[in-house]
């Protein structure tokens, strides 16, 4: 469990924060999404043959694959056309479509987490996950709406607000994924979790 959330944490870091070597981006976003998907696979395999529903995690994987494809096209397009392709009007709202897919993915990841806590009767964690998801979605959706207007009107002031709100939303998620990783790392009830037989 902890490794799954750890990979989701690092995947999210790589898709959000860029490390460039001159014009070359060292870790293109599709690599981040692949790491995140790999983390989701760890979570699904953990509960594969148990009564815990993995449907939400699987949906997150499907949307993650769409994002891998999109960001791969973006990376190749940028390399081939030097950014001119992505600056064309057709791609005006490409960042918004990516944000929209991100919101869906993280909805399913946290919904899956909620179901795990629910099934394992971690009531406090269940309620916390629900609240965290709500706060993240409100910030993420608000950021997307602000950025839609910003991209249309080319307004720098509102762009700063939209981008900052988006970054705050991502950091908020990162903190929670880090907490989730630590939670499962610490062996919550003092003994190994046997999901299949509900022994914990």
């Amino acid at each position: 469990m902890d490794r799954g959330y750890q990979k989701i944490f690092w995947g999210l870091i790589f898709v959000t924060f860029h490390l460039n070597l001159g014009p070359l981006r060292l870790l293109p976003p599709f690599v981040g999404w692949l790491i995140l998907i790999s983390g989701l696979h760890e979570l699904t395999s953990r509960f594969q043959n148990s009564s815990i529903s993995i449907e939400s995690f699987q949906r997150a994987i499907s949307f993650g694959k769409v994002l891998v494809a999109l960001t791969l096209v973006d990376t190749i397009g940028t390399l081939v056309a030097g950014g001119a392709l992505m600056e064309s009007l057709v791609f005006l709202y490409y960042p918004i479509i990516v944000i929209m897919l991100e919101i869906i993915i993280f909805f399913y990841i946290l919904e899956g987490t909620y179901k795990v806590f629910s099934e394992l009767s971690f009531e406090e964690r269940k309620v916390e996950t629900q609240k965290k998801l709500r706060t993240y979605m409100v910030m993420g959706i608000s950021s997307a709406v602000i950025l839609i207007f910003t991209l249309f009107f080319n307004h720098t002031g509102t762009m700063v607000i939209g981008v900052l709100l988006g970054i705050v939303a991502v950091i908020y998620l990162l903190v929670y994924f880090s907490q989730l990783k630590k939670f499962w790392e610490q062996d919550p009830l003092g003994k190994p979790i046997d999901v299949e037989n509900k022994l914990w």
Binding site: L92, I96, Q130, R134, V145, F149
Partner: protein, 295 residues
């Protein structure tokens, strides 16, 4: 969790709808080709005071899509094919960019979906132009850095060539801003004022507040100025509220006409020109483009 699901659904639908509206808006507001605003420019060249070639700098303004990274590489004037005029959006002492390499920032003031762009032109006239001759330019063939060309009505740019102007009134001082100028002259001999002249005066008459020695410029005919007295001209161009008028760039050189003691009629430049261009916001540009039928 049901509330979260509802927030997600509403949020995604909202984002999707706004993105669709955004794309439709972007395509509806897109210009097929740049639109040049109206220019009304009058410039006099006096052979006696300027060396050949006599250079006159003119700025030409046009509206392009905010995403348009092409720049003007050349401007021809079909009415005067002999005129070779250097043109650049980077200033006359800047770079003459023919191709943008993606690294260089495209010039212009971006307002929403549009960008107000400035082309700097340097006209140079040699001895071929005779005293009393005039040139009027109303049309420009504008070449862009991607090789495309468009022809535009640009208003009216007029150049006049004269030998010299009257020395009966001597320039003393001038101050001013984009909207207001104050110019002072001293009169060498007694004169009777006839009026203020400018080719495009009628275009700004309603928005022009001009006083000659405190009197409205339209009422100065017959005003006597004694030798040694000053003429003070205060002028202020108010911003127009009419969309079409807002997008007129004015660069006027008004002249003062008077009758000397010996009955001769002369004109003298009032030195301070009127430069007038308003700042525009996205909605005003949109209104103007609609008025011009460009959208």
């Amino acid at each position: 969790m049901e509330t979260n699901r509802k927030i997600l659904k509403v949020g995604i639908v909202l984002i999707a709808v706004l993105v669709v509206i955004g794309y439709v808006g972007v395509y509806l507001l897109r210009l097929d080709e740049p639109v040049v605003i109206e220019h009304y420019i009058e410039e006099q060249t006096y052979f006696a005071y300027q060396q050949s070639p006599r250079k006159i700098n003119v700025e030409l303004y046009y509206i392009a899509n905010s995403t348009d990274d092409r720049v003007v590489s050349r401007i021809d004037f079909p009415e005067h094919p002999d005129l070779q005029v250097p043109a650049s959006e980077f200033g006359m002492h800047g770079q003459f960019a023919v191709f943008t390499d993606g690294q260089q920032q495209t010039p212009g003031n971006i307002e929403g979906r549009y960008s107000i762009r400035t082309v700097y032109l340097e006209f140079a006239f040699d001895e071929d132009y005779q005293e009393g001759e005039s040139i009027e330019i109303t049309e420009a063939e504008i070449h862009l850095s991607d090789g495309s060309v468009f022809t535009a009505e640009i208003g009216s740019i007029n150049f006049h060539f004269e030998e010299e102007h009257s020395n009966t009134i001597e320039f003393l001082s001038s101050s001013g801003s984009n909207y207001q100028t104050v110019t002072e002259f001293i009169v060498e001999e007694e004169i009777e004022l006839v009026g203020i002249e400018s080719e495009f005066l009628t275009l700004i008459q309603e928005n022009l507040e001009m006083r000659v020695n405190g009197k409205n410029f339209q009422e100065i005919q017959g005003m006597i100025i004694e030798a040694g007295e000053k003429i003070s001209i205060e002028s202020n161009i108010k911003s127009s509220e009419i969309v079409g008028e807002k997008f007129r760039y004015l660069q006027l050189r008004p002249k003062i006409r008077f009758i000397k003691e010996n009955g001769e009629e002369e004109t003298a430049p009032t030195i301070a020109g009127w430069y007038h261009r308003q700042e525009y916001d996205f909605y005003e540009i949109f209104q103007y483009l609609q008025l011009k039928g460009a959208l």
